[in-house]
Subunit: 369 residues, 2 copies
């Protein structure tokens, strides 16, 4: 309680005294004093420089602050074409980042080395020592096992069976939490994006390899085998066409799989009024509606967040919301991702922060506290 | 703990003494004695007649048993064409039942009166006094609100907006728990059917008005607005055909909506080798596969249970399991309902029992216990 109060005060720019912490937490002053001493010892709190209002007698009360710099976290997205690393302090404040592009067919070792290199660069640029990382969250396509290995992943070469958490843990010297990318994006949007305040969320990563993640009661729903939301195969069910074909404005010539830049160009042409591009986008929205409707009918979320493309999603969310209302007994709200290209890495960061907070808040008050 | 031990012993036909209860629960004998006295007072325990092994000195130890007859429960299914009532004691043992047919277009008042009448008949035939009902569980089609009213129901005339829990509560003089029929069926199959031991279950009620319910972590997943699993509209998504058309062996003449008997005849003809009936069943299985795949991709359950038809489901589950493995990254087990026509009422009974158990186990031990 004391640590939470200290951190909350820090977010408001305040450095409370023991008396103020006692008032906020409802604990006795001697108890708060003991807890603060143990937090000072653990490095989570520091004496603040700010002057205190003078007490009626005696020396001025010491003021304290949460030491957000006591450790750092990484949030990592590993994608088919791009790797993103975010660096944050223990208050979740972002202090650095790095983005690297990677070939879709890069072997697993190359991709792993790129992640580790990007992380080291981002840490160095942020002035964080390599041993200052307390936890790493990773969002990756595929089905993740509880031990941090990749159970199945069609999108990244050599990824299936990779002990991803273990390998990155060795490279970065910190515990690694591995999560499916769409699940991580859902967590990210709930933390700092379009799903703020929502506990029941379906997050759809549109694009050429669509995936979905969901939160139920504020927690990631992974399913019995970690495969919940793997909707990539839905279009095989009698709908016939894959996204790269639906989105092709040129009839029989499909877009290259995973070529999101090509998708961006089609969306651009559709916005410019080109009829064939418009028809292609329309076909894709129908397909996306089909996938999302299936998820919504199964889960009945409060909110659907559409993300996964850097731009053009406004043109998708509107028609999607209209279509959903035709099929759903209760129609959820539809919103476009607010975190865009950083949704997955932001969610991964939040998962790392969750872990470290669980440790921090487990610091025990001394006997009698 | 004492009450649980007493009830478990009762299931084995045993009547334990205070010493035996103390040994099983790890509580002290004086504590167990106090608890047993309070259970005797509350009517949940009785002194058993069975002779005890003679203790070394003094009078024989008294033996005790759980009074399963201290109260009774009702499990009710309200369907389009049929109403089912099950009566059970506090141990969940079935002591009676009643089934009534009803016209699909019967007004709500008529359907409610039929339920109340069936319940009274079943209670009387079981020798349970009308005031002996401790809780009633009800499974009904539609979206149920938390207050026991029907938020939306297309299947039963006049059902939308009906304060179902309140109305049946007044008629039966007991608290009523209202649940969507497919959700109730999932609970029933987990308690005493095909889903025993499974916490992550999708239950599909096949038929002309398909619906689904799901358990996640052993608990019913209702969704943000209670509409989870309402997959009836999935077939509108570009698949074109409604079940009554798909299942028609006679080309353009669809079956009557809700006419499950007609479905039974089609299945029968298909089993008899009639080609057109076989093709109709095949079309329906494809449609069902589509619906179930959507649910499975969204939720990733351990097990899919197919129910809702009284017979013929063996012919559906096999092809469904084969088809699922084509689309799912992780394929769940597929099983046919073991409870058949009683799945919904059995689940409703379990929900009533859950409620009464929560009350029973809240009986407080006396001070010092």
């Amino acid at each position: 309680m004391v640590l939470r109060a200290l951190r909350s005060a820090g977010e408001l720019g305040e450095s409370p005294s023991v008396a103020e912490l006692a008032a906020v937490t409802g604990l006795s002053r001697p108890t708060v004093e003991q807890v603060v001493e143990s937090l000072l010892g653990a490095g989570y709190a520091a004496v603040a420089g700010g002057a205190a209002r003078a007490p009626r007698v005696g020396r001025p009360a010491r003021r304290f602050r949460f030491r957000a710099e006591a450790g750092h976290l990484l949030g990592v997205e590993i994608g088919a074409l791009r790797v993103t690393v975010l660096v944050a302090d223990l208050a979740g404040r972002r202090v650095g980042s790095a983005v690297r592009t990677v070939a879709a067919d890069a072997p697993a070792e190359e991709r792993l080395a790129l992640v580790a290199g990007a992380a080291r660069t981002a840490l160095m640029a942020s002035g964080v020592p390599p041993d200052g990382v307390r936890a790493v969250g990773v969002g990756s396509p595929g089905i993740m096992a509880a031990d941090g290995s990749v159970r199945l992943c069609a999108a990244l070469p050599g990824w299936t069976g990779l002990p991803l958490g273990e390998r990155l843990g060795s490279a970065l010297g910190a515990p690694v939490l591995v999560e499916n990318d769409a699940n991580a994006a859902a967590v990210g949007e709930r933390w700092r994006g379009a799903a703020a305040g929502c506990d029941d969320v379906v997050m759809v990563l549109a694009g050429l390899s669509p995936g979905a993640g969901s939160l139920i009661g504020g927690r990631v729903h992974r399913g019995f085998g970690g495969a919940a939301g793997e909707i990539g195969a839905l279009h095989l069910l009698g709908r016939g066409a894959a996204p790269e074909r639906l989105l092709s404005p040129d009839g029989d010539r499909p877009l290259a799989a995973l070529d999101e830049a090509a998708v961006g160009r089609v969306l651009e042409r559709a916005r410019g009024g080109e009829a064939r591009a418009g028809a292609a986008v329309q076909r894709y929205v129908e397909r996306l509606t089909h996938d999302v409707t299936a998820l919504v009918l199964a889960l009945d979320p409060e909110l659907v967040v559409v993300g996964g493309w850097a731009s053009g999603l406004e043109g998708v969310a509107g028609p999607l919301a209209r279509e959903l209302s035709r099929y759903c007994l209760r129609t959820p709200r539809v919103a476009v991702s607010e975190l865009g290209a950083e949704a997955i890495a932001t969610g991964a960061l939040r998962l790392a922060l969750d872990r470290v907070e669980a440790e921090m808040f487990a610091v025990r008050a001394p006997a009698g506290g």
